[in-house]
């Protein structure tokens, strides 16, 4: 997500902390928290009721009711699928493993390349045209050819790689370029040579940007792995589970798969977001 530079701003949290209705004393703060909780619960209950109502009303198999989905969700973790011999844990492990491999590959290439492109104009001039040729191709568009050419094992990993690579690269380059020039000036007046600059100024101050790239990249990585597993995969995978189930028409299980994907995506982005915030704070970039 793009975030505009904020400029210097007074430490007043938001437009709302000043609006009269948001001026709370301490006891009122608890009241407010309680109100939020109640509204959240109302909201989720309303959501479930709407879902239930719609599934009753529409009376279509494409929208099973929440209870059925919940039961299928629980079952998929406990019962091995007769077609594949796998339960949901196996599928999760399979998807996770692919995401991690693709991610590792992307990390190992995008970070050094990004540092080089950010740091050296020649490296940038040389790499940029090629990067710009590939960047606008949505990673998923590669799916048919990659899975054919590289097989059902390597293909999905390469798709994740492509998906993670570009946001990570952009963020690393942006990170290197965002370094306040005054910091490198300061380093130079303290006697820093070029290699010092790279190791002691550029590298550390790029770390939070790398973390941001990781968070965004992982989000896209999940998207890619699901799409790749839709098209072809061996060794299971949640995406594969979903297509197989859609193919035989077990839509309750399709929704259960969606729930699993949602939870996994949430966990990875929350986790990397948490690490990102910790690192940013540690690096003094609040």
């Amino acid at each position: 997500m793009d975030v505009k530079g904020s400029g210097k701003k007074k430490e007043r949290a938001s437009i709302f902390s000043q609006w009269p209705f948001n001026k709370f004393g301490n006891e009122e703060k608890w009241q407010q928290l309680f109100k939020t909780l109640v509204i959240t619960i109302i909201s989720l209950v309303a959501f479930l009721i709407t879902w239930w109502g719609l599934s009753e009303l529409a009376d279509t198999d494409y929208l099973p009711d929440p209870e059925t989905v919940f039961r299928s969700f629980i079952d998929t973790f406990q019962i091995r699928d007769p077609l594949t011999g796998r339960n949901m844990w196996d599928n999760i492990m399979a998807s996770l493993t692919r995401v991690m491999w693709g991610f590792a590959l992307a990390f190992a290439t995008a970070v050094p390349l990004g540092l080089a492109m950010g740091f050296s104009k020649n490296a940038d001039d040389f790499s940029k045209p090629v990067v710009e040729v590939f960047r606008p191709i949505p990673p998923i568009a590669w799916a048919p050819i990659m899975i054919l050419a590289l097989g059902v094992l390597l293909g999905p990993i390469v798709l994740v790689f492509i998906g993670v690579f570009f946001p990570l690269l952009s963020n690393v380059i942006f990170g290197v370029r965002s370094i306040d020039p005054i910091l490198s000036d300061a380093a130079r007046t303290l006697g820093a040579k070029r290699s010092h600059l790279f190791l002691k100024v550029i590298l550390p101050s790029t770390i939070p940007y790398i973390m941001t790239g990781i968070r965004i990249g992982l989000g896209i990585g999940w998207m890619c792995i699901v799409a790749a597993e839709f098209i072809a995969a061996t060794g299971g995978g949640v995406g594969q589970y979903i297509v197989f189930k859609a193919e035989v028409g077990r839509y309750d299980q399709v929704y259960a798969g969606l729930v699993v994907i949602a939870i996994l995506g949430l966990l990875t982005t929350e986790l990397s977001g948490y690490i990102e915030r910790r690192v940013s704070k540690r690096m003094g970039m609040l």
Binding site: D61, P82, L83, G85, G235, E247, V248, R250, Y251
Partner: protein, 343 residues
């Protein structure tokens, strides 16, 4: 039960690979064999890089395969059209049957050419395919028995939940097949005569079929306008306007059933298992009104595989879990004591 093998080594893996890609996958070594329909079995065989391990008739003798399904709402309003299409299906199927009796005839050559064009394979592949599949339209009691067996296997596999039959208003598997397979239209179609007038000029019937699938040869030749004297297709001769349904041809029967569900297909050629699965699981409102072929599938393998023992730990491609080939594969290997796992 159905899935249980008796030893840990006796494992065979499967992976879903579209039939059109299976030959290349074998060549690339990502699979050791595949179960597939025609012309892909013959294609693999004639390419020299694969051997046929078993033709499907040697696994499930006389097993059914593709069927003609019709959207029930369409049928209710356009029974005449459906009958005419069925008639065309009958005529075309009979024509092929006769034509292949004399492989030296011009018609035979034309047939091979049409098959080659449709399937993007050469004529010898088409010829071989024609030898290994039996094109038919009759709905027989054997066919109905098979449909019951298939449905029961799916229930065994939990691909269809036990309660689903009742949800759809069927008392039993028998009752389901009784209602879902209806031979009366086929019988009525017998009496249809050619018609000068096109019945549905402005509203052509949307026909679904699968990519390059030679089981569905009858539709291919019926749509050709050079075979029937003059420049009319067989459909036109019997007074129906046709069009390929949107999104078609489809990669597999599951996709075609989905197209049925979204109202894009009126009449379709597809495998019987997806017609069963999607009708029961997803309530797709279709009816089976005719057969298309029996047998005509095969397991092709790396030539080094010659016996059951050679399959230990090997990977076999199937067109996907809703196909009859997949079911046959499962049944064959589990009944021979294998544990079947997805790769």
């Amino acid at each position: 039960t159905f899935m249980q093998g008796d030893s840990d080594e006796k494992v065979v893996y499967w992976v879903a690979v579209a039939p059109i890609d299976q030959k290349a996958a074998l060549a690339a070594g990502t699979i050791d064999g595949a179960i597939t329909w025609e012309p892909y079995a013959s294609d693999a065989l004639l390419s020299g890089s694969a051997a046929i391990y078993k033709w499907s008739e040697d696994i499930w003798e006389d097993h059914p395969c593709c069927v003609v399904a019709v959207d029930q709402d369409y049928l209710a309003e356009n029974e005449q059209i459906v009958l005419r299409v069925l008639k065309v299906h009958q005529v075309a199927t009979d024509w092929i049957y006769e034509t292949i009796q004399d492989t030296s005839s011009d018609n035979y050559t034309k047939l091979l050419d049409l098959g080659a064009e449709f399937s993007q394979r050469n004529t010898s592949v088409v010829a071989s395919s024609l030898e290994h599949m039996i094109l038919t339209y009759e709905i027989t009691s054997e066919f109905e028995d098979w449909m019951e067996l298939i449905t029961e296997k799916y229930i065994d596999l939990d691909l269809i939940e036990n309660a689903t039959l009742a949800t759809r208003g069927y008392d039993s598997v028998e009752d389901f097949v009784d209602q879902y397979v209806n031979s009366s239209y086929l019988a009525m179609a017998e009496d249809i005569e050619p018609s000068e007038e096109i019945l549905n000029e402005d509203d052509p019937v949307r026909i679904g079929y699968l990519v390059g699938d030679l089981h569905q040869f009858a539709r291919v030749i019926a749509a050709d306008d050079t075979l029937w004297g003059g420049n009319k297709s067989l459909f036109e001769i019997y007074g129906v306007a046709t069009v390929t349904s949107e999104g078609g041809p489809y990669a597999n029967g599951g996709a075609e059933m989905d197209a049925f569900a979204t109202g894009l297909v009126d009449i379709g050629y597809l495998g019987s298992p997806p017609a069963i699965l999607k009708h029961l699981n997803a309530g797709v409102n279709t009816l089976i009104v005719g057969q298309v072929n029996t047998v005509g599938s095969a397991i092709f393998v790396d030539p080094e595989i010659t016996s059951l023992e050679d399959f230990y730990g090997k990977t076999i491609a199937t067109p996907g879990p809703s196909s009859i080939q997949h079911l046959m594969f499962l049944d064959y290997f589990t009944s021979n004591g294998f544990t079947v796992k997805a790769k």
